[in-house]
Subunit: 363 residues, 5 copies
């Protein structure tokens, strides 16, 4: 589980060492090349790096027009990373972060390119999975590396096919679109978490049962993980929207990134609200549990207070003092109405106590 | 409930896509046009966009004098949004926020116009409703979009009709008036919440009963929602009052926005105070509940400690040892004053214990 | 109670509307005029605005020398406010804050004048009252509006009468003196609160009784209110001491305001310390309550464990099996030493248990 | 106790009023004059202000070489303060802080001199005492006022006598040495607090007894007081080390103040760590107390569940139904093996229950 | 334990006093000299300071090419420190921090050199040890002082032997490599802590037993200590990566330090996540403990409520009223079916109660 692990090289490893992570199946990653400008769109689902370089050269030959998008689906192994580095001049520190995975979201300007790390979240209703999305922007090349489900990018591809704004604007707009996708994918997750919180709340407002505690704990943990991603993502978007990455991200695209920033801020707000509600529900449970304990013990006390004196009285008249030895010995036993009198006395005691308890609001 | 939902487009949708939200009834929104300058005031309750454009042209012909205010009552559908966008050159990202609703309060300078999102709160004593108010300021046009009750704007209209300052000052002052209205509408809500908190406090200081917990929880949730709006609203007003939006908002109007900022800060202070009082009341309940438990158990213990020995003594003299078999077998039973002696002993034990408990402060 | 209310105009009211607050008795406020320079001092306890204007003109005629201080005792009604506004050119937003009362402490530079809102606190040992003090500084005029007890300002008046620094320095020094008075008046209140906290602490360290909870709650609420005033007051003084109000407040006076700032910071430190001590005392009570519960239940358990077996044994020998029907039926009853043996056995059981409990540290 | 008191003048007193505090014994303070340069050192344990002025004039005559250090041991009374003010031109606001005592640590640049307030802590293992140290730096004069034990300054004096760095560097280095002493004196206090926390922790990890609560409370209070001094002291040192006091404090001395700043930061870190450990220990106690309660009640329940049925059975066979009246009345009593059978049944019930409880892990 | 101690000189000691700490064995430290440039590498495991100076002169003679790295393994005693100071011109304040140990991580620019203090952590699964690493950078000399295990630096040495980047880049890159090593060594520690937290969580989600409290307490304490190091380390790295140390640290190396900064931030994120999970687990235990108490007491109450009335009834028919004295005295005892009737009544009562409790969900 992502909470407890952070992939890391053995301490002392040279920075930028590209080694396949043991959990990464070798050669798993596939490349998908898309080249487009306002007029044309070319898609190659199983491309090679050489085709990508050719596309870049073609775009350059055409006067720098057109954007080349290379998408790597799956975590690349060391070999592929080396080839990407050689072909596009990527910084080894950035590629190391791609191979290691589990990085904090961040945006870093290298001399060579812009490098952005974001996360994709997937919540099945029981488990929360977080995937890393790595994005490179270098001139008119966008390189995205992601091990999410393949159909995640379909909306972006469709928008490219339909033409419109996305085809006309440059590579930084494509980068924005990919960032926006990662941010907006948090909303369905949050909605499902919100539904779970709401269900819990309704349940607990009716009957604040402590059995819900592990569920609350699990929800809180999912939210902890999600917040661990959303906080730095909001920070990244705040930086990008402010213009810190300016030559790479144009002013026009910054307006759109401000929109993504708003979404990230809204997602965080929702998350914090959920967390406060959960904390409050824990309080509710704590109080209800104490209340229930009071109720039970009150009943026990009432019963004990009623029956203990009665049993004691019965015990008294069960004593075997020898009435013949002395007239002082339990003369009540010989009275004509002794038994009914005792029974009535007992009834009176019981009723009196019940009346007393009812008056004090105990029953 | 607003807590658990945030309206969003499917991830990957192109930014600025204007689609009617499923919950929005189509064609519901009505337009209301007001044109005024220091001398004249013209109101058209059911206006069209074309009339508005004509009014704008008329104002321009008159040397830029006069302000045009178009109020859209209700959430616009995609069609109306498209027409507004075409007519006034509104930014699609802003309009998308209008259609989606449930946005965080914010103030955004677009190249084309200023866009402000605020909230209106309505508290019925049981439920808290939050509505989005969207405000556009472009030159001498103010466009407000709001799905609140219609009579909310009546005080503004009346002030326009009565002439005075509002008619003389420009569009940014009208914008301020609408912002001020949204902020000041939080006070009646806060007052009602404050009355509820005060009632709870008085109740609980007399009898800290855990049954109040769900009420506290509900109040806290309302406050959580309200705070979620007030925090960014205060931020928005702080920005506007500082002069961040300066060409659009004149220096003269900033003084008034500082006043609104003060109100928002005051509202937040009140809210935080309520929240702290509620947290403290929870503590009070927790303590009182523990106290009550102690009381009950002390009574149970006192009763048990008194009656257990007595019952045991009665049990002893209820044993059937054969007194004839041996003089050692329960000779007490045959004594002349055995029974009174035992009864007195029991009484002494009971009284002694009561005295002991009273001395230790248990009863 | 100030906690739950904030006076406000109906939303939508024009800003700067001066209307008498319903709680304010009309015509209650009295004016007191003081004009002084290094050589002369003139006091008029029941002055009119016209006299004040005359004094201002006189000061101007004398080459701008001398300071005019107009003190309004009591909350002014709308009529007086209008006249003040007309006579001295006060900003309507500032005057509105004066009439409404219950404002957050703040310092605002208007084009016309400096406007400062502070609070006076009064703690009777049971209730905490907070009053608003409004101060205007315009040229050599200081206007103070306050509904506190009349003798509050006596020390200031005395210092004026005695001459010295205060007479020599200008209007901003008088403003400082009034601010300093408001800040320093928090110390007697804090001292009384501190004494209450200390008394509580000593009490609870001896016997952490939950009955102190409502007292703690009340103290915390007073502190909450006081902190709500002290925080923004410290902020105001920090601003003024830094020189944000520079032309109005001279450099020389800023040194004195730094002293007031120090006092406010110190007062806040004290308050926060009290609050932490109270939170800790709540913890103490919680723990002590749990401890006491454990003690009580331990006693109940010990008593039950001792008497239940004994009572059971007595019950056995109270059974009526027919000894004549069979030699197997309760032969113990016929033994010569049956009864003493049983009694000794019971004694042994009781002593054994006591020994066992003592060894485990239960009694 | 310093927690609950802050010495203050009656509100409205003129700033800079020098009045002897009632708790200060008059004429208690003694002066100690030290004059040194690289070559010479002159010490006068019971000096007068005039001697000090003479020493200053001598230093001036010698071309500004040499440093004059006047130490006032004990809190000065108003008379001494007036003379100090007259002799050295000290600012009355600063002197007022000296006389009042109990100030927050601070560093203030007056036109005339630098004024630094710090604290000395003394922890006896039971009580924590905090003393104020006031330091003035004016040209080559250092004036220190302190009511600590006399031997506190011995290390400084010894370093002066031994010559070395301290004699060669100027007055600001002496000031630094005095500041460093005040900061470093917190470490023995923290060590003693740390030992107490560690002892508590070891004790409570073995047996988390709630009786430790008042001790925890006391430790927390000491730490609260100490933190109240350390926070502003760190702030003061951060300011001084950054160069905010630059003409008075030379660049060379700032390097040393950075060292003192590090010490203050380290002390605060330690303190915060202790506070978190104590908070955690409270949690531990709370949990252990709940656990113990559960244990006790489980035992009570087990005993009750075992003996209640047995006593009931014994009660049944103690009933006096008339066996002669009908063969249906308690024929068991006449059976040959009735008694042993009942006894065996009881034994079986008891053993069965014990087995059942053991299986459920209750005993 | 590092939590409770901070090594310090007696207050008043002259700054920069180099004295062997009593815990440091004299002459323990060994020196290891490494000189390298792109082409050559020279290692001397047991070097002297003179050899180091010779190496520095040789490097200078070769035109400033090549880096000299002197590693001191073990804490130096005062004598060695003096010699290091004399040979390399180190600042006494820095050396004092080296001898004292237990410093907060920090980076300080002295006129003479850059001084960095970091920590190495070692977690055995039970105890956490923190060691100080001190690094000096002066021209092309790197001096590292560390009392960790010897093989810690092996990866660095190996990279030097293998040549590559590290040999080509200058002294600041070696410094970076040592810093990176210290930061990355936190990850194995965090992993082990994470595994412990995860194990605890799984255990407690199944059975939230309060016996885990001391384990949680210990884990929290380790994390407290680790956080106390990681917070300032992140701060140090943030400073260095921003370019605050620019002439000493080249721009090229700053990119790598940004990577280290990322790692430190990630480590802190992990740590904070663990801490929140642990806090939540404490909550879980608290709730489960309360729940368990409720269960036990409910059972006790059920048993008491069933048997108390039955025992009372048996007690009644054990009374000895004299049936012959009056027909009113316990005629039931003489009825033919009295006994079976009572037994059936008892059974009915018991069954009725069980049914009632089951319906209320108590059993």
């Amino acid at each position: 589980m992502a909470l407890y692990r952070s992939r890391y090289h053995p301490p002392g490893t040279a920075p930028g060492t590209l080694s396949t992570h043991p959990d990464t199946p070798a050669g798993e990653a596939t490349l998908c090349l898309t080249r487009f400008d306002a007029e044309t769109l070319e898609e190659r689902p199983a491309a090679t790096i050489e085709e990508c370089l050719a596309a870049l050269r073609a775009a350059e030959a055409a006067g720098g027009k057109g954007t080349v998008w290379l998408h790597v689906a799956g975590t690349p192994d060391a070999d592929l990373a080396e080839r990407l580095k050689a072909a596009f001049g990527l910084h080894p520190l950035a590629l190391e972060d791609v191979l290691n995975g589990c990085q904090r979201p961040k945006a870093e300007m290298y001399d060579e390119h812009l490098f952005v790390v974001l996360s994709h979240a997937d919540y099945t209703g029981r488990d929360l999975h977080l995937y890393q999305t790595s994005l490179f922007l270098k001139g008119n090349l966008v390189l995205s590396i992601d091990c999410c489900a393949a159909d995640l990018l379909t909306p972006i591809r469709n928008r490219l096919r339909q033409g419109g704004q996305m085809r006309k604007r440059g590579a930084d707009y494509l980068l924005y679109a990919l960032i926006d996708l990662a941010v907006d994918h948090k909303f369905p997750v949050l909605e499902r978490l919100g539904v779970a919180v709401e269900a819990l709340e309704n349940e607990l407002l009716e009957d604040a049962d402590a059995k819900a505690m592990p569920r609350i704990h699990r929800l809180k943990r999912h939210m902890l993980l999600l917040r661990g991603m959303l906080w730095p993502e909001r920070e990244v978007l705040s930086q990008m929207q402010r213009g810190d990455m300016e030559p790479a991200i144009s002013r026009k695209t910054q307006v759109f990134l401000r929109d993504s920033y708003d979404h990230a801020a809204q997602a965080l707000d929702l998350l914090e609200t959920y967390r406060e509600v959960l904390a409050d529900l824990q309080n509710l449970i704590l109080m209800a549990s104490g209340n229930r304990l009071n109720d039970i013990i009150r009943i026990l006390t009432v019963i004990s207070i009623i029956f203990m004196p009665l049993t004691f009285i019965a015990g008294i008249y069960g004593m075997n003092f020898d009435r013949e030895a002395s007239p002082w010995n339990m003369p009540e036993l010989g009275w004509a109405y002794g038994y009914p009198a005792v029974m009535l006395a007992m009834l009176a005691i019981a009723l009196g106590m019940l009346w007393f308890f009812r008056r004090r609001g105990w029953i």
